[in-house]
Amino acid sequence: MDVEKIRQDFPVLQKDFKGKPLIYMDNACMSLKPRQVVEAMNQYYNEFPACAGRSIHRLSTRVEEARRKARQVMQKFIGARKPEEVIFTRNTTEGLNLVVNSLGLGKGDIVMTTDREHNSNLLPCQMLEKRKGAEHRVCLSDNESKFRLDSFEEMLSKDVKLVSFVYTSNLDGYTLPVKEIIKAAHDNGSLVLLDAAQAVPHHEVDVKKLGVDFLAFSGHKMLGPTGTGILYVKKGHYDKLQPFMVGGETVEWSTYEDHEFLAPPEKFEAGLQNYAGEIGLAAAAEYLKGIGSSNIEKHESMLTKQLHDGISAMEGVKIIGVQDPEMRGGITSFSVGGMGYHDIAMILSNNYNTMVRSGQHCVHSWFQAHGIEGSVRASLYIYNTSQEVETFIDALKEIIKLR
């Protein structure tokens, strides 16, 4: 993997600020965009900025074709059997909400999450409990913040209708043993929904091999545009879902009294879609495919280990979550005793042109449960370099001298 060549594709990395190059380490929130994605989107806006499907003119046909291709690209990207299993959404949050709210769960049903869920997965389940009377259960991790399969299996019962877990945590990059989870859940007759927002951009996800029922992820974390995402729905499960947003482009016909839905996935894609975004998302997927998921994993693993070795040696710096860097993908969250996390992030930004996230990373529940106010999170991706990690470590060494 030629990182320098990859970096040339990212216009924002060619700019510096007051003589310092940009070091971007907030990829768990949003990844940078290569020019190929921007060009693909611009092509839509410049050459065929029309509606798909609704009109029959030449431009519309072109949009429809581009959209169809984009769906195929995404289908292949996640290993789905058919393009119809891929619904375009605005983000992971929409996909998760769609499944949780459309399955018809209610009183007597149990939905389970882990103790490290992003609010986008946790809150729909909590709201389901409040509004529909379903029960929400939390499967706790062990003392090392690792998933407890035995505990999970014990918690499974016939009333557990949905297991809605994060695939790879945005807190610490830890990937759950999803194959085992899916097997145990299916043996129990439970459906599995995975929040794959942090998984799909960073390692190979093959939904066929996993056998997962539903899987949601975002485009903006995998080099794609904002406002894009995918919900994978395994063939045969569409009949379990009722669309919670309906309107234009979801129906074959309608009268004043009735309507007939289109077949999925269009049934779940109400309103004018983000055509430019979908085309850009497909361009992002092709870009990542060109690099190769194993190369991406290897690169991130190497950088995470370097980062881990550098900061774990610093006094007063505590790594949050799973300690083993081999298990953490490209994400490292840490706190510094005697210093605020926002302070660290701001000084890194102001003085070192290094962008990291600070706070509770939308996993407030985990921080509240562990009595931790917040952390700094450095999340790496394909364009980060060993030199950048070294610069980050040196910067942190300077900053902690302020204590």
Binding site: M339, G340, H342, D343, I344, A345, M346, I347, N350, N351, E398, K401, L402, R403
Partner: protein
């Protein structure tokens, strides 16, 4: 901290939109603090980080000190802000009621609501003409006095009809104009007008009402013209005094001339 920041940011916001978001956060924080609720934004942390990061580029030790003691420094600034606000209110009150913001020492006050903002009303306790000793050019030196602070004040009191005033005034004006930006010149022809505060000075130094009266920086004065010195001599004496009370500004080349330097030494 947010209270101090609110004042500063509110003023900065008038001139630049860049600070308005911060001003709104500070306002929200102040509102919450006043109602005994915690701030929901990380305003304090953000401000601390911005200041620390700026200091780090210049001096690590100072950055460390500031970061460690930020709360205490904030409290001190807040206290200083309240004290200076209180002192400002006190000053404005005095200005409105007695015409000077500091009745105890009007030299401290830069405002004069009645006239020229550079003019002050002087209090003369230290300027006792009866305790003056003779110096060059017929001038008297009030030894206990120091030249007034800020721009030295220079007065000429005369009348339109007095021939000695007529002799003295053009020479006085010629010399004073060379020191134009460094002194505060007042020429009063007391048969034409008698401004109240200027007459206080006249009556103080020329108790018998003699003219012309020259008062230089409040410390040196002469009742009478310098005719006995001749025009050139009078010019040199006046120049020497002005050089002395203005500390020989670079803008006046004469202050470096040997004859002037010699005269200054004799004052």
């Amino acid at each position: 901290m947010c209270l101090v920041a609110l004042v500063v940011l509110a003023v900065l916001s008038i001139f630049s939109a860049r600070y308005r978001r911060w001003a709104r956060e500070a306002f929200d924080c102040v509102g919450r603090r006043i109602t005994l609720r915690p701030c929901i934004s990380s305003f304090n942390e953000n401000v601390r980080a911005i200041i620390t990061s700026s200091l780090m580029k210049r001096h690590m030790g100072l950055a460390r000190f500031t970061h460690r003691h930020f709360e205490a420094i904030s409290l001190i600034f807040t206290a200083v802000m309240f004290l200076s606000m209180a002192y400002s209110v006190y000053g404005f009150y005095n200005l409105a009621m007695v015409g000077t913001c500091d009745p105890a020492d009007p030299d401290n006050c830069i405002f004069n609501p009645d006239g020229d903002p550079n003019r002050v009303v002087c209090v003369f306790e230290d300027y006792e003409p009866e305790k003056a000793v003779p110096t060059i050019g017929g001038f008297m030196d009030i030894e206990s006095a120091t030249v007034n602070g800020g721009k030295p004040m220079v007065y000429f009191f005369g009348t339109t009809w007095c021939p000695h005033c007529g002799w003295e005034k053009p020479i006085f004006e010629e010399v004073m104009n060379k020191f134009n930006n460094t002194i505060d010149i007042t020429i009063v022809e007391i048969d034409v007008e008698q401004p109240e505060e200027d007459m206080l000075i006249f009556n103080h130094y020329s108790t018998d009402g003699y003219i012309p009266l020259l008062v230089l920086g409040g410390k040196y004065y002469r009742i009478g013209a310098g005719e006995s010195l001749g025009e050139d001599g009078e010019r040199q004496v006046l120049t020497a005094f002005l050089c002395k009370i203005t500390r020989s500004p670079n803008s006046v080349a004469e202050c470096g001339q040997p004859e002037i330097v010699e005269l200054i030494g004799k004052i």
